[in-house]
Amino acid sequence: MILESKKVFLSKKNLEFRKLIQSRHGAEKIMSCYQCGTCTSDCPIAKRIPEFNPRRIARLAMYGIKDELLAGDTLWLCAGCYTCYERCPEKVRVSELISALRSIALEEGILHPTFKALFKTIYSQGYIYEIGEFENEMREESGLPRAPEPNIDEIRAVIQNTNIQKIMGGKFD
């Protein structure tokens, strides 16, 4: 395995993938990482699941190892808590790196079903839940006003030219 070997040879593909990552918002500084491990030390997920390791993700990104980075649950286990973001001494900010990788994964048609379902519901209901007649009746019984009715036509009109539109439009299944 590449991370255990004494010598690391990076192919053209590796370097290209690294460059792709660096072109994404927030991930410009991945090469500043010197593997101090501060990101991992207080990561709430890394503490409980050894398979999720921010330091390792940063290293794989510096080596441009695409298949490992996009595989399994690596990208989906980040809780987005920004602890690593606040503490990284080099401002590499692994949370931004994971965001960059998620955007790349989306372009390849990879999206975890949980998030896909959330965005599909936003597209069809305007919220991440259905808030219909039943829910509004319950609200009225408790003395609350009806929930604002999202302007779904507006939402669909404004996200037409975005990557996520492909998901919400039902292109990926």
Partner: protein
């Protein structure tokens, strides 16, 4: 003081207690929360990673509604606060992205102008109302009640965008708890994430993270308060699912403040919380 009230999704769909208590406390303190017609989900904190432009657009559309109303936005979910604040600040300072977003918004006759601020309800309580003013309104303070405050993540982080308190040593929730007469106690892991965002990917991890804080607080506190519906649901659900007794009472912060302001248990929707928090009543001054 009038505000555009952005209630998000989860509270509207699931947490009548949070919404009731927020509205009642606002009314008592003199904040008028106006509904935003046509508003929708903020987009969620997850969307920015997948598609930054879409995230900015969805958030901006909501912000435009408040701009047209002419009022600053109050949010009650940490996630919504982060998404809307980030979009607001980024679009105010990045003309290129703002133009791109406005190009899409022009299709629906809207334009992001950057004329309003976004604040979490607790931030508005401290900055716009002030602790001194709130103290004056307290009718029956708590005595001897030990509360574990859970800040959550997105109220303060990322700190360069949220520009609020230092996420390593925040004070706001401790101050807002203490104004009610309760003690806001320090505890191990106070600033740790609730783990909610991972629920849809590895549920057990979320319960593990939640229960750890619950067990810590059971030993040193009488109750926990949250300021985010997602955090609240995590700590409530992990207890219900694990069936470990006794439970640690959790309430939304406005419910705690509301009791001290003299409002009623059912009025604040505390009976709608799934974990019984009636023990709080005995700590109120008679």
């Amino acid at each position: 003081m009038k505000y555009a009230f952005f209630a998000g999704c989860t509270t509207l769909a699931r947490l009548e207690g949070y919404e009731l208590s927020t509205r009642k406390v606002a009314e008592t303190i003199g904040l008028e929360l106006l509904d935003m017609p046509g508003s929708s989900c903020c987009g969620t904190t997850y969307l920015e990673a997948f598609d930054r432009k879409a995230s900015m657009i969805l958030a901006a559309r909501n912000i435009c509604i408040a701009e047209e109303m002419g009022y600053n936005i109050i949010t009650i979910c940490n996630g919504c606060t982060e998404v809307l604040t980030k979009a607001n600040n980024v679009l105010k300072s990045d003309p290129k992205l703002r133009n791109e977003v406005n190009e899409e918004l022009s299709k629906i006759g809207r334009e992001f102008k950057g004329s309003v601020e976004v604040k979490h309800f607790v931030r508005a309580l401290k900055e716009d109302v002030g602790l001194e003013r709130i103290k004056v309104e307290i009718k029956r303070p708590f005595h001897g009640l030990k509360v574990g405050a859970h800040y959550g993540c997105h109220l303060l982080k990322p700190s360069d965008i949220m520009r609020f308190e230092d996420p390593e040593s925040p004070k706001i929730l401790d101050e807002l708890v203490e104004v009610t007469g309760a003690d806001s106690i320090p505890y191990l892991g106070k600033l740790e994430c609730c783990g909610g965002p991972v629920m849809g990917v590895r549920e057990k991890v979320t319960w593990n993270i939640g229960l750890e804080k619950v067990e810590t607080l059971k030993k040193c506190a009488d109750a926990m308060i949250t300021v985010c519906p997602f955090c609240y649901l995590t700590y409530e659900r992990c207890q219900l699912i694990s069936e470990v007794q006794p439970n640690l009472p959790i309430v939304h912060y406005p419910q705690l403040l509301g009791l001290a302001l003299g409002l009623g248990y059912e009025e604040l929707g505390i009976d709608k919380n799934k974990i019984d928090s009636s023990n709080l009543m005995k700590f109120l001054e008679a």
